[in-house]
């Protein structure tokens, strides 16, 4: 198993555009979480999905949305991009949704907004 995979690796967009980031969890994992990591900061929680339902949401504007598919893969969508959305976006998967389940992180997608 390659672990959690994310695509694309890098992405450059301009302000006002829309972006879709993708994540494939480890086989058998049902929960996917998304984090934003701005340079010099720790990852900040955006969303958690479990069995296609949103289980948690961080303090992010409605421009951020996500969904999980029947195969447990997930997409993160960001509309009306701002310069401040430039960051590394991390996806993490876990077997179940509770806190004692270890989260396995992907390599991230580096988004640059110009």
């Amino acid at each position: 198993d390659a672990g959690v995979t994310q695509s694309p690796t890098h992405l450059i967009k301009t302000r006002g555009q829309h972006v879709t980031l993708r994540c494939s969890p480890i086989s058998g994992h049902k929960s996917v979480s998304w984090y934003q990591q701005v340079l010099g900061q720790g990852p900040q929680f955006i969303f958690q999905y479990y069995e296609k339902e949103e289980r948690g949401r961080g303090n992010f504007p409605d421009r951020f949305s996500a969904r999980q598919f029947p195969n447990y893969s997930s997409e993160l969508n960001v509309n009306a991009l701002l310069l401040g959305d430039s960051a590394l976006y991390l996806c993490a998967s876990s077997l179940e949704w509770e806190s004692h389940n270890e989260q396995f992180f992907g390599p991230g997608t580096r988004l640059t907004v110009l």
Binding site: G40, Q41, G42, P43, F45, S94, E98, S99, E102, F104
Partner: protein
Amino acid sequence: AQRVTQPEKLLSVFKGAPVELKCNYSYSGSPELFWYVQYSRQRLQLLLRHISRESIKGFTADLNKGETSFHLKKPFAQEEDSAMYYCALSWTGANNLFFGTGTRLTVIP
């Protein structure tokens, strides 16, 4: 509201010296604390969590509820310990993690 504080952005120690990475948290309920590590050009990965009370790669961390701390310690630092370390908090019934800003540890040969 929950908060995780790692007061040191950078920490350098000599090989063989003891190392302590500090983590303080703020949370009104019963927290679950974790240490995650990111080695150069690798993914963020779990190092240890307080509920398992185990030692990983010689590192230990004790949850001190009185001082609201979860400091990471190792008696003898090794060069391969050089990495970025993040303290993170969650709680029963959730799986989202709240991370501190991280401490970059450099072990000097």
